[in-house]
């Protein structure tokens, strides 16, 4: 290197001599810092090599993470310390140059956009209009099929479930629920028979049956005979955000939604007594057939689950 000095000392450019204070390290004891950094690089290297070893040996996640994380962290700390304590401490400065152009340059730009562009369009107004109108219609036309291909229209989908008059109530395994199945205070999640394994059946039709007493139970006026022998059925979809109302507080006779803590009074037509749910859970009218199985008299009398615009 030494023989090339004559090439390297060129014309008068601004420079600093190597002993300039701006070029000195910030560390008071650079040798000590250098040794510490060397140590962190050495230990870091050992750790990343160990990471490779554990990877080959299919080590546990924590050995992999500890060696990888430890190694990277030590490399990082060493490199940061090198930059912060051993490299020229500065401070250095640079000027900001205004980003704005000169007035004449701005005018030239505005002129090019407004006058040059404008004159071309004004001369052929009809062409501009046709092109603009055509492309505008195209963007609308492109938007519609894109949206429509994504999914079906809602129509009346949200108003109905798969519960039909006479549907058997079955549990998740498809077993029909019999009038002797539940002790008082018990609860079971049921679906209309044939839908217990379908997405819609699980997401929409899910219903809880609670046995509240031994005798026919009326939750409110107009719902006489809906709960034969104390078998009460409510939609399991919370009317707040559609979470399954999966907790039954037996002593309080409350159904509780674990998502946002809405509570529904089972005795009182599942009226919400606490939390953000706005409506009672819809009740499914049941009857017990001659063989003693629980069946639906008809579908829910209103949409299940959370509110939506078209819900009348």
């Amino acid at each position: 290197m030494s023989e090339n000095h004559e090439h390297r000392t060129p014309v008068a450019l601004s420079g600093l001599s190597p002993d300039d204070p701006h070029l000195q390290p910030a560390a008071k004891n650079p040798l000590l810092v250098e040794r510490l950094i060397a140590l962190s690089f050495i230990v870091g290297t050992v750790l990343v090599v160990l990471f490779g070893y554990f990877y080959v040996k299919n080590g546990t996640p924590w050995t992999l993470g500890a060696t990888l994380g430890g190694g990277l962290s030590l490399f990082g700390i060493g490199l940061i310390a090198w930059g912060k304590y051993l490299m020229p401490r500065g401070p250095f400065v640079e000027e900001r140059h205004t980003l704005a152009s000169s007035d004449s340059e701005r005018e030239a730009m505005a002129n090019a956009v407004v006058v040059r562009g404008g004159s071309v369009i004004k001369r052929r107004k009809m062409l501009g209009g046709l092109l603009g109108g055509g492309l505008g219609l195209f963007s609308l036309a492109a938007l519609l099929p894109l949206l429509r291909s994504l999914g079906p229209l809602p129509k009346q989908t949200l108003d109905h479930t798969d519960w039909k008059p006479g549907s058997y109530a079955v549990d998740i395994t498809g077993r029909r629920v019999h009038e002797d199945d539940l002790a008082i205070g018990s609860i079971v999640t049921v679906f209309p028979e044939g839908f217990q394994n379908t997405d819609n059946g699980q997401a929409v039709d899910q219903t809880v049956i609670i046995r509240i007493s031994n005798s026919d139970f009326t939750t409110m006026k107009g719902r006489e005979n809906w709960a034969p022998k104390g078998y009460l059925a409510y939609s399991k979809l919370c009317t707040h955000l559609g979470c399954p109302v999966g907790l039954y507080e037996q002593q309080l006779q409350m159904l509780v939604c674990p998502c946002h803590q809405s509570m529904f009074n089972v005795n009182d037509g599942a009226m919400p007594t606490f939390g953000p749910a706005p409506r009672p859970l819809p009740q499914l009218p049941l009857y017990i057939d001659a063989a003693g199985y629980l069946r639906a008299q008809k579908d829910f009398d209103q949409p299940v689950g959370p509110g939506f615009w078209e819900r009348s």
Partner: protein, 512 residues
Amino acid sequence: MSSANTKRAKKQALGPYGKVGQAINELDERLGVAKGGRTLMDKIFPDHWSFMLGEIALYSFVILLVTGVFLTLYYVPSSSLVTYHGSYAPLDGQHVTEAFASTVNLSFAVRAGLLMRQMHHWACDIFVGAIIVHMARVFFTGAFRKPRELNWTIGTTLLILAIANGFLGYSLPDDLVSGTGIRIAYSIILAVPVVGTYLGFFLFGGNFPGSVIIPRFFVLHVLIIPAVILGLVGFHLFLLVRQKHTQFPGPGKTENNVVGTPMFPVFMAKTTGFLLFVGGAIALLSAFAQINPIWQFGPYDAARISYAVQPDWYMGFLDGALRIMPSWTFHSFGYTIPWEVTLPAVVFPGILFTVVMAWPGIERKITGDNAMHNLLDRPSLRPKRTAAGAAVFGFLAMLFIASSTDVIANFLHISLNTVLWAMRVLCVVTPFIVYPVTKKIAQEVGALKGGGKRKTTNVVTLTAEGEYVATPAPVYVDDAVHHLDPTPVPTFLQPEEEVRPAESNGTRVADR
């Protein structure tokens, strides 16, 4: 001897900067890189700890990309059902979706799979957090002011995208907890007045759950949103370089300069080290702190539910808002607006992010300040802005706490009703307390003489007469560097004097 001579001749032919110099010549002839490259290397980065908050966000995003690519190699975005026969025995024989099965498999059967999954999740939580803390820095120091309004808007957009993509990624394993989250998201979409059901049916391909939501979330999560984030991050950094960094006022610092350390090599060393450190810290977290053990939650089943679960932390404020909102449903003329959902989950975040995004314009309207600002504010010198920001953070913090009402009630053994009403009151009251208190504190601190500056030490000496004399030390020892006048980055270093006389040119010439 002759071989040494040819070596030297070759070296001489390459010129003083050797092969690197040759490569620069070749590149510059074709692309013209020398001038711009040199300017970029001399670019000055001001030093302040708060300027590295954005770097945490950037580098956790790098970790997200790297670990995310790893995960896509093993994850199967499908909701078709399979029977699980993997290494996690408790799930053996269960019918689960391919999405769930592949996530469990990549956690247990793929080398380092669980580590990568946990790093991805931790990096996401840190990514969103770092963006928010970085934004707080920019907000409270006024760095968003002219000419940087556009970059503030891009940053806010990045925050929204990061939250959205976090939610989508959290949903992909199709476990019981995340599936309930998707159910709630669907119900929130339904709550949008007029078009809600259409939006929900188009997004989910029909009524919830349908079979397309996992593949659709997947393509959004790994392709579309990351591409947009990447583009916006690039633009964010381009604007940073073009407009140059802001700096705090201080000796030698003006509106028209930047004082600090140059890009090459000082800043580059520090920032590369920081990238390695962020990666290392995330790996250590993932090694020792378990996150999202989906095999314990089990696969999603629309009729099942778990208890005492919260979403990832950045969704907490929305969940809290949903919990404390009273059931004010609107039902009339045959139509329903479920305000108990629409207000906290649609209207509120809409207003919040719109105000945040428009803040530079709003503040300019209020103050009438249309000047260029390259020097930062100390928060105490802008009491009203600081108080407004603190009030919003106070409100959000209360909503966040409200997302754990059930856990708090259980933990403190008090009634859920008490906790709920306490949180309702706190959410309303907190901003009205935080604003005046913060404003007063800021005014007091701002009025202090020498406030915000480090105090210099007094040196106490005992005189021969036994008298103690306190003299202020001229400079805080570690601050000596700040008392040098800043200098431009040197164009070259004057070479050191030759220190090895034995190897002088004369000897070598004689050898020849």
